[in-house]
């Protein structure tokens, strides 16, 4: 039986992987020292530390050594393993860590078992609310915690609840907004699929806070597994008396129901969402009146995002003060981000507010996939903006991101490297918003379309310098005059790229050149004669027969025939085709 485990991984991507070599050397020395029967050495695929040379982790002592050389083996085995001494100059100084509140149970419990949720302390928050706290103290506790809406805008949750509680009404409603639509964001899906009861418990507590007797889950139909698991969870909660009449023996009653979204992005906006639940066309209407006063069927309604609700049971159980200790002065608690794009470890990351973007991307997610430098990080989906590499050390919170011209948003985070074009990226996001615009108000419907026309012109090399000014004017009109958040924020990706990457726009306009070689109209493919081995693979793979020549004379691409599909670059084994 082994008493210790040593994990080994070479985290330096710039050289050949030395994990195996080091592993053998370490094993050899352990054999010499006659420790091989007590210590197991394991090569791991990921050690949670990046770009720190060869990394060792010794268990159960939890000692992490980095930049380890072969010459260090002797002292590690002799002093650390033999005498239990820690070698200070090798110790890895721990960097940013995840802090899991929302994802506390994700990946730990069986999402289809209410018993496992209860075993992890589930529904004890609800018990505390019904038994000890009561409405007033509950809202007070949420106020102390300082939690703000995690759907994007960051409105204080307690204020929403308090408004709805103060309004006199025969009926009130609570809604969980699970209509997650930002491209690249899937935090809510993971929470609904991994820990559905935490969201249900949050919703029951919200309903109690305002005195609602009916609640809705508004989930997009594209999340069938989430719908199935929430459905099961609601049924289990009814069976256990955690929903329905006299919850946990109290006088509080609540019914929950699922409503499916039909795939419109704008239905994530609260007034459009309400229309959609009412069975009407999902279009927004002007606020005020805010839903907390006049919402679903004209009654006071609280709409909270999945992530906000998943926080609530933890806040209630541990107290508002506990939550308020985490994060920055204006933004409390943690935030879940879905980190995607050109990043090594894509996935969900939950960090305390105030961590920097660089910590998230480099220390937790391991940097870029290609090893190329980061160009920018996009946050907040189509309503957000890009943040250039130079500003990645900004601590993440609602205010800071807004100052940079982006938003926290629901938590999508897309990492971009040098191969991403800063005209192409806003074109994608704006295109998404134009497609998803409901068309009710003119600034969003016409403004978005016109701005997209300008972007297309620029990416085709037909832009003029005046267009940039024109786009800025359009953006201002859309921000000021659009009816809902979709139109007000649709121009953010364009404005933020203009703010930080204006030179790249000008390069497209003045020199008809796309530095990232993304904009097809400005890119030409050429075969480099010195690298070409004349295998002819590109000729057979070209779908439009644009490549001519033979094995003796070499090959040429005819620019007038080329459709710039990039097929030849993909198939060329000698990297002999340039794209500029």
């Amino acid at each position: 039986m082994y008493t210790k485990v040593i994990l080994v991984k070479d985290t330096d991507l710039k050289r050949e992987d030395k994990t195996r070599e080091f592993y053998t050397h370490l094993l050899d020395y352990l054999r010499v020292s006659n420790l091989h029967a007590q210590i197991q050495v394991v090569r791991v695929a990921d050690i949670g530390v990046y770009d720190q040379g060869l990394v060792l982790k010794i268990l159960p002592d939890k000692i992490v050594y980095c930049h380890v050389q072969d010459s260090d083996i002797k002292r590690i085995v002799d002093s650390t393993l033999g005498q239990g001494k820690v070698i200070d100059d090798l110790v890895f100084k721990s960097k940013a860590k995840q802090h899991r509140i929302v994802l506390r149970n994700c990946g730990k419990i069986n999402p289809e078992s209410i018993e496992e949720y209860i075993a992890c302390g589930g529904y004890l928050g609800l018990k505390k609310v019904l038994g000890e706290l009561g409405q007033q103290k509950l809202i007070e506790e949420i106020k102390i915690s300082g939690i703000r809406g995690r759907g994007g805008a960051g409105y204080p949750t307690w204020m929403k609840w308090n408004f709805a509680r103060e309004v006199e009404s025969s009926e009130k409603f609570v809604i969980c907004n699970a209509d997650e639509g930002d491209p690249g964001a899937y935090m809510d899906r993971s929470v609904l699929e991994g820990d559905p009861h935490s969201v249900i418990e949050g919703l029951i507590i919200a309903a109690f806070a305002i005195g609602a007797s009916k609640g809705y889950f508004y989930i997009r139909a594209e999340y069938p597994l989430a719908v199935e698991r929430i459905n099961k969870a609601i049924k289990q909660a009814y069976d256990y008396g955690l929903l329905g009449q006299n919850i946990l023996g109290s006088s509080f009653n609540l019914d929950l129901e699922i409503r499916l979204g039909a795939g419109a992005f704008v239905c994530g906006e609260e007034t459009a969402l309400i229309s959609s639940i009412e069975g009407k066309r999902g279009t927004p209407h002007p606020r005020p009146p805010y839903p907390s006063v006049k919402g679903l069927w004209g009654k006071p309604t609280v709409i909270n995002n999945v992530e906000t609700l998943a926080n609530i049971p933890a806040i209630v159980s541990n107290g508002g003060k506990w939550f308020a200790q985490i994060g920055t002065p204006t933004s409390k608690g943690t935030k879940v981000f879905a980190v995607t794009g050109k990043v090594k470890n894509s996935g969900l990351v939950e960090i305390a507010m105030g961590a920097t973007l660089r910590e998230i991307v480099m220390d937790i997610c391991g940097g870029t996939l290609s090893g190329k430098p980061i160009k920018a990080v996009q946050t907040g989906g189509p309503s957000g903006g890009v943040i250039p590499e130079a500003l990645l050390d900004t601590p993440v919170d609602y205010e800071n991101l807004q100052k940079l011209g982006s938003i926290m948003g629901s938590g999508g985070m897309i990492v971009m490297d040098e191969d991403d074009c800063m005209v192409d990226i806003p074109k994608f996001y704006l295109g998404f918003c134009v497609e998803e615009s409901c068309g009710k108000c003119a600034p969003c419907r016409i403004g978005g379309f016109q701005m997209l026309v300008y972007l297309n012109k620029i990416s085709e090399g037909k832009g003029r310098l005046e267009d940039l000014e024109q786009m800025r004017r359009l953006a201002q009109a859309m921000q000021k005059a659009s009816l809902c958040g979709l139109g007000q924020t649709a121009s953010n990706p364009v404005i933020s790229t203009l703010r930080y990457f204006e030179t790249e726009y000008k390069e497209h306009i003045l020199n008809k050149h796309c530095p990232a070689a993304k904009c097809n109209s400005l890119v030409t493919y050429t075969i480099m004669g010195d690298k070409c081995k004349r295998c002819g693979l590109c000729v057979t793979n070209c779908p439009v027969q644009a490549i001519s020549g033979d094995k003796e004379k070499g090959y040429l691409i005819a620019p007038e025939k080329c459709v710039k599909c990039g097929r030849c670059v993909d198939v060329c084994k000698f990297k002999a085709i340039s794209k500029k």
């Binding site: 082994y2 038994g131 008396g241």
Partner: protein, 115 residues
Amino acid sequence: MNKLTPSDLEKMHKASSDAPKDWIKVGMSSCGIAAGAEDVFNFFIEEVKKRNLQIEIKKCGCAGACYAEPLVEVSVSGLPSVVYGAVNKEVATKILEKHVISKMLVNDCIFEVLG
């Protein structure tokens, strides 16, 4: 089913901290299932039955490391709890033969150590 009372909740919460058992958890959210977690889960169930092993196979949600799906967490007494990533039938066989039966961690497949 009987409706719960507040004291029932407490009891259910406390009863759960029983003696630790060996288990394998397979991440079965959309991301895991898309990467083949269902096959891995069924494979574990079959093999454990065939080999008559005393280990429980459980389902769980996504732990967040989507790039390494399907994720499988293994907790066997005497060894640190670890998460294996990119698990297929081949790795699953190794987990059973090496980790569960011989009590040794499997090389090159561990993505996270939970202590």
